[in-house]
Subunit: 328 residues, 2 copies
């Protein structure tokens, strides 16, 4: 048992503002995008894609940042480490974390990069297709990590997207090492099946050696273990990981441990409007449960509640206090 | 009859991005704000109020700009003149106009000001309270007006808010003069009852001498003529104005001409979510009708349709193509 922690969870991730527009499937195809995926884009492409998109709404996003907002919304003590520029979108990002009580450690802005942004196209069937210009967020390096905060959090939560840039990957490993040295746990979100594809060997090694809690969806797990079915993926992760929470869309989720598999239903949703943030918010509920001593089944239920809230509206963060939705 | 025009309407106004958060009434009171009104704030106050607001969403706004987006959404040919800075919010503002087909003439950025923003608190009863930091938008001066566009638009639409800064007021008068010299019409929106209060004499003179189409709501008209009832205000405006469209919330609107008064019902709305933009969008429908040769009663109905759409969701601009909602 480690010493009491000031924070339940500290997230480390890419600090992005989401730029959200509705788009028909033919637009997504005509732009050469893969529906449902996340692609990295450079500055020029961000400009040209934005130019062709319709009226947009700007909201703070970023996978791990969304998750920390969810933890705080459940009443948990959350912190977040990530890098923004000294510009309008950087101010928006910082404001929206602090507004829900997340302690933000932004590191220092440097160079000429702008705050990162994620251009999100929401299809009529509520799926989202993301094109991310990482900007300043990709400059996150080990020197930006507030080690005191990491050592003082029960769980350090890292998003797989960090692996897409060398400096951030280094920060990822440094954060995991700091957390473990302090006797804390490390959680990883696989983020996206294409991201897993790009970094499969690294992720496999991490999951075996350094990750205490793994988050991913069926596609991501199948990609990680190069298997064809959800059940095979669950068997594979069970052999290699202490604790994994695997989501499977409307079929709910399974919590996988060496001792067994717990199945958790999805919460009913009147109308799915925008699936952005579903995985991020599932992780927030699960982590809040885990850090407040709930059973694994209840952790899964909290995850389902948070995911159901966020897919019922546009945007990647809860619009109501999640603690009010907990009735058990 | 003047020569054919390239544009149906050109709007001139304060170019603002809305920063929208939900807030309880006690928060609005504790911040010393007057519910339902628009107050101008300076930079320091914008920072401190933003800091105390909850999670926000950013969307392009600005009264006349919202109206022009409505005109374009009906299928009309709209242009817009207003000033933004070369920053993230300026890019957002420009993008969202062009995305719906509004021709944007931004003038030149100058000085150290940032793009203007309007901090909007939406109450549980859907009323909005606005605190506006004008920033770059208040630097609009006559030299920023594209006179070719104004001379080439059937109607030049000016928002009353422009009167809050001397340079913009000068631009307002110059735009009206250019429009009339080209044989075009000038429309004015009174904007806000406090704005009318601040500039009553100016507005009274303008309405008598320069305004061809007046837009306002019951409160604004009562303030303009310093009368206590809607009916008195309607009688007063009828004496002084060729054509006025006066909205009165859920009671609909009245179209006032020297020949008589036409009453138009409000469109039913399943749930009023956020009244931001109601007046702006009413004006868009009315102006679209007027510039496409509709009867005054139909102009009013188009206004009601647009207003009903915009109050059914968060944000000041339509989320669907308004032309699709026209069934008559």
């Amino acid at each position: 048992m480690s010493v009491p922690a000031t924070y339940d969870v500290v997230g480390v991730g890419n600090s992005l503002v989401d730029v959200i527009a509705h788009a028909e499937d033919h637009f997504i195809e005509s732009e050469g995008l893969v529906k449902g995926s996340m692609a990295l884009i450079e500055s020029d492409r961000a400009v040209s894609l934005y130019r062709s998109m319709g009226t947009a709404v700007e909201m703070s996003g970023g996978s791990a940042a969304n998750t920390m907002c969810g933890v705080a919304s459940f009443g948990g003590r959350a912190a977040y480490i990530g890098k923004v520029a000294d510009d309008d979108l950087g101010s928006v990002f910082a404001h929206d974390l602090r507004a829900v009580g997340v302690v933000f450690r932004p590191g220092n802005p440097e160079g000429e990069m702008r705050t990162g942004r994620c251009l999100i196209l929401v299809s009529p069937d509520a799926q989202r297709t993301m094109s991310t210009y990482l900007g300043m967020s990709s400059w996150l390096h080990p020197g930006d990590l507030d080690e005191t905060v990491i050592a003082d959090a029960q769980v350090t939560y890292l998003e797989g997207y960090l692996f897409d840039r060398p400096e951030a990957k280094e920060a990822f490993r440094a954060a995991a090492s700091t957390a473990h040295s302090a006797g804390r746990r490390v959680a990883l979100s696989l983020s996206d099946s294409f991201c897993v594809d790009r970094h499969r060997d690294d992720f496999r090694g991490l999951v075996r050696d350094e990750v205490d809690v793994l988050f991913g969806n069926a596609d991501e797990l199948c990609s990680l273990y190069e298997v064809g079915s959800f059940e095979e993926a669950v068997r594979a992760v069970r052999r290699e990981c202490h604790l994994a929470a695997v989501t499977n869309g409307k079929d709910g989720s399974v919590i996988v441990t060496p001792d067994g598999v717990i199945r958790v239903s999805a919460e009913p949703v009147a109308r799915v409007v925008d699936t952005t943030g579903a995985g991020d918010l599932f992780a927030s509920g699960f982590l809040h449960g885990l850090t407040s001593g709930r059973s694994l089944a209840d952790c899964g239920r909290l995850g389902s509640i948070a995911a159901a809230e966020v897919i019922s509206h546009v945007g990647p963060r809860p619009l109501v206090e999640l603690r009010r939705l907990v009735t058990f």
